[in-house]
């Protein structure tokens, strides 16, 4: 019989023994020594920051947009393909099909599998409501082979039954994982916004289990096409050969999904015009989703709809999100300084076709959760009146420098180029982003804040606070109460 030794006491025993006293700290540094650190060097004037690369943008015969950016001093070639026809607003079928692409592709001599070890790195897949993005990084001398393999991966799946089952089983596990925790909390908050369909993990799981090779092939036929699609290649390779390789590799990508067979599925995904003004998509009152269970301090995510990326309001709105997170006078930082939170982080979620979501999330001290929630909402609503030139300039400076730093990565540049291509612009427009930023004025930001944030009614999901905390906020609103379980289903209790 094995002798098992319980370590619970051993591992914790150091805490119960009295600890030795430390020596007293030395005297503080002298006043003159401290004073010598009061004045920092003045800020130097901002330098012009030219960006160097050459690029070319073409459209292939099948309509696929192709952008090639050549950066001689980089070491890795990034490939990125965006297919808007492979959008998956909620059903999960397209996402499952994309994942099942890993089950095999037909090329040349026969069926091959893109083994990530042999192909240096696995192909990244990300499906959301606006489309599917494929990302890959290869050694520059492998760029041609990489393009050919990526094209085969996307265009010629086999959906082998055995391999597909393996991949979809993995997908099921990932869904189960994401059905609890912060991801689920975020989905709860987003799902309260009108017009946003958030996947139900249970539904997704049922859907995936029913997908066989025949169904997957149909989804593939209806989803994968060159319609609106963009391919970007960024690396030290010369431009012309890359255009030649990509044209040959993606020649067979169909121009559009088959019209009749796919009409029913495409209409389910059709959407109206991009949201450029507040209105549809906004809540008329605050919406709280309170989730009980879990062992942590309260975790919160606050979500508010914003303008579409194509809207003129988008850039000021994104800057406002940064202001809310970083401003010294704002509640996010003050709450952090008080120890009430371990930081509130803001981001713009641009994964929806007609709008964006401003999302603030973080962990709250339970004793100060109520004050923190109230302050964050008030801060958001009041920023149109409190925003200063100084803090706007700081945010703009940081954003510009963060963008410059990100350009060290060809993958990041490829993503930016995709963004520009989606807006019908050349990648050279990226070089002018810094100027675009400087043109965003204080008055413009205030105007955007007035229209989008002043009477904001966010959707808030909180895990770990009692409902009385929320009811005592004094902000009104509707409350839903839910419970974590270990199963895919969630139990809903009362409204």
């Amino acid at each position: 019989m094995k002798r098992i030794i319980g370590l619970a006491l051993l591992a914790g025993s150091a805490c119960t023994a009295p600890r030795p006293a430390l020596p007293p700290p030395p005297p503080p540094r002298s006043a003159s020594e401290l004073a010598s650190w009061e004045k920092p060097p003045p800020l130097a004037p901002e330098r012009d920051q030219p960006l160097y690369w050459s690029s070319r943008r073409v459209r292939l015969e099948n309509g696929l947009g192709l952008t090639v950016i050549s950066r001689a001093d980089t070491q890795v070639t990034a490939l990125q393909l965006w297919l808007p026809s492979a959008a998956d607003p909620s059903e999960g079928r397209v996402a499952a099909m994309v994942e099942a692409l890993r089950a095999g592709t037909r090329t040349g001599p026969g069926v091959v599998l893109v083994n990530p070890r042999l192909a240096q790195e696995s192909i990244g897949l990300h499906t959301e409501a606006t489309g599917t993005t494929f990302t890959w990084r290869v050694l520059p001398r492998a760029a041609q082979l990489g393009l050919e393999l990526l094209a085969d991966f996307v265009q010629h799946p086999v959906f082998d039954e055995v391999e597909t089952r393996i991949r979809l089983r993995q997908e099921l596990s990932l869904i189960q994982r994401s059905s609890t925790g912060p991801t689920h909390l975020a989905n709860l908050a987003r799902g309260a916004i009108p017009g946003i369909a958030i996947p139900n993990p249970e539904q997704d799981a049922r859907g995936i289990l029913g997908l066989g090779p025949k169904e997957l092939k149909e989804v593939h036929r209806c989803s994968v096409s060159a319609k609106g699609a963009e391919l970007v290649v960024v690396g030290p390779n010369e431009i012309e050969p890359v255009i030649e390789w990509a044209s040959a590799a993606f020649a067979e990508l169909p121009r559009a999904p088959e019209q009749q067979a796919c009409a029913s599925s495409s209409s389910a995904r059709s959407r109206g015009a991009a949201q450029s003004s507040p209105g549809a998509g906004r809540l008329t009152q605050l919406q709280f989703q309170i989730v009980y269970g879990g062992a942590f301090d309260p975790v919160m995510i606050m979500v508010l709809p914003g303008p579409a990326p194509s809207s003129e309001d988008y850039l000021p709105f994104a800057l406002l999100a940064e202001v809310l997170e970083h401003r010294d006078a704002g509640s996010a930082q003050e709450l952090r300084h008080m120890g009430a939170t371990y930081g509130i982080h803001a981001r713009i979620n641009a994964g929806f076709p007609e709008l964006t979501l401003l999302e603030l999330e973080g962990q709250l001290d339970p004793d100060q959760a109520q004050a923190a929630l109230r302050r964050l909402v008030e801060d958001m609503r009041g920023v149109s009146g409190t925003l200063t030139q100084h803090e706007l300039d700081e945010v703009k400076r940081r954003w510009r420098n963060g963008f410059i730093s990100s350009l060290a990565s060809n993958e990041a540049l490829a993503a930016s180029a995709i963004g520009e291509a989606r807006r019908g612009r050349s990648p050279e427009a990226i070089k002018g982003w810094a100027n675009e930023l400087t043109q965003v004025t204080l008055e413009r930001c205030r105007d955007v804040a007035r229209r989008w944030l002043e009477d904001a009614q966010p959707s808030v999901a909180v895990a770990g606070v009692p409902v009385k905390l929320v009811r005592g906020l004094g902000l009104g609103g509707r409350v839903r109460e839910l419970y974590w379980t270990n199963e895919l289903q969630e139990h809903k209790k009362g409204l």
């Binding site: 240096q120 990244g124 050694l139 993995q170």
Partner: protein
Amino acid sequence: MFRADGEGGAKDSRGGKALALALALALRASTADARSPSCESADRLTLKNGVEVVLKAERALPMVAIVSSVHVGSRNDPAGYAGLAHYVEHLTFREAPRFPSVFKLYTEAGATGMNGTTSSDTTDYFASVPAAQLERAIWIEARRLGLGLSALAEQAAEDERQVVLREHEARFGYAPEVRLATAIFEALYPVEHPYHAPFATEESLEQLTLADARWFFAEHYRPDRVRLVLVGDFEPEQAKRWIERDFGRLGPQSSGSGSPGPGAALPLSAPECRWASASQTPSRRRLRLLSRSRNERLELFWPVLAGEEPERARGSFNMLASEVRDAAAQNGLSHRVSGELSQRELASFWRISIDIAPGQSLEKVEGLFKAVIEELRRSSSSAQSLNADRQALELATRLEETRAMSRALRLVRRECVPSSCVDPALLDASTLSQLDRFAPDKALVVERRYSRGASADGEIQAVP
């Protein structure tokens, strides 16, 4: 639906192998520019007060990565004060009367990515700054050391302690995880080893005071324990002038005790470095955490052996991790397998972590692991897979070299035993045949098991 990519690739297991189209087939290994960043050359100097400076000037982008590293870490926490080094790190960011916070100063300069980390061995402070503002960044880091905690108010220190507690909660959440982490390190390192110490707990953090932090700062934040690294677009001679002006005037804060207190950091030549050359064998072979969490996991830890150069075993390790990942996915046993080399100054370890898929058992996963190793031992590495491993390592190395901050953080690293530079392209069959050192019976095996028992939640067992 937001579906991020999971681990990729499933190996065909049906009779007869499908053709695996490897990018490596048509490619010959290149030996050019595929070196580990820690091997890159840099301009090095030492100031009169002992501050070490490492400069790597280049013009790729108009920015500079700055790292100020103090040679003190969690291994220097005095007994009963676990978490003190980390607490001090947090406090150096706070504002004080007449002194704006480090964040504010950097933000004004348009810096990004400013943060700090405390490891077992060092506390590193870093930021990416526009090239034009390098003078300000150098001054900020010098001020952090020169100002110390003298001007900090008690309330600010108390508030930051709450922040540290929140961070601890976010990271560990579940108290038994902390105890398990402590138990793992206790098993990997003997009692006298500097890494054999309890992890910080809520209890230990609750007791820390500003006076404790001030003593720790004065004791350890000395100029001769500081290494400053700059990577990016700057003029070296101008940078040296600023560094000499600001870092050169730093002196140690006088210590009331007149002698090193408990847990004092020692230079690399000190006797502590003997641990880097000592053999390590885990004192226990298997730990088991019982909890009510259904997320079961199997982890295996292998200490890096005395005299072993970890980079030379990386090929074998990567191949093993990949094969385990493929096999586990293929059999539906796991959807997430990760492998890493955790490198520390005095001792490092390899780790493979396997999340068990719902409905599967730890025993099956462990059986699979053993089967994979046996299979790999039997079959010799093909030229194709050998070349592929080289390509993968070369790509990984180039990706690391992409970011100035990654390279700066590698240049700041200290090693008791300097590692040699390994060119991934030179990996050969003998390098990849080091699988035996990753046998399960040489590992510390850690299980996280689901248990319904009322008293079982959080119990840690040592299984002989």
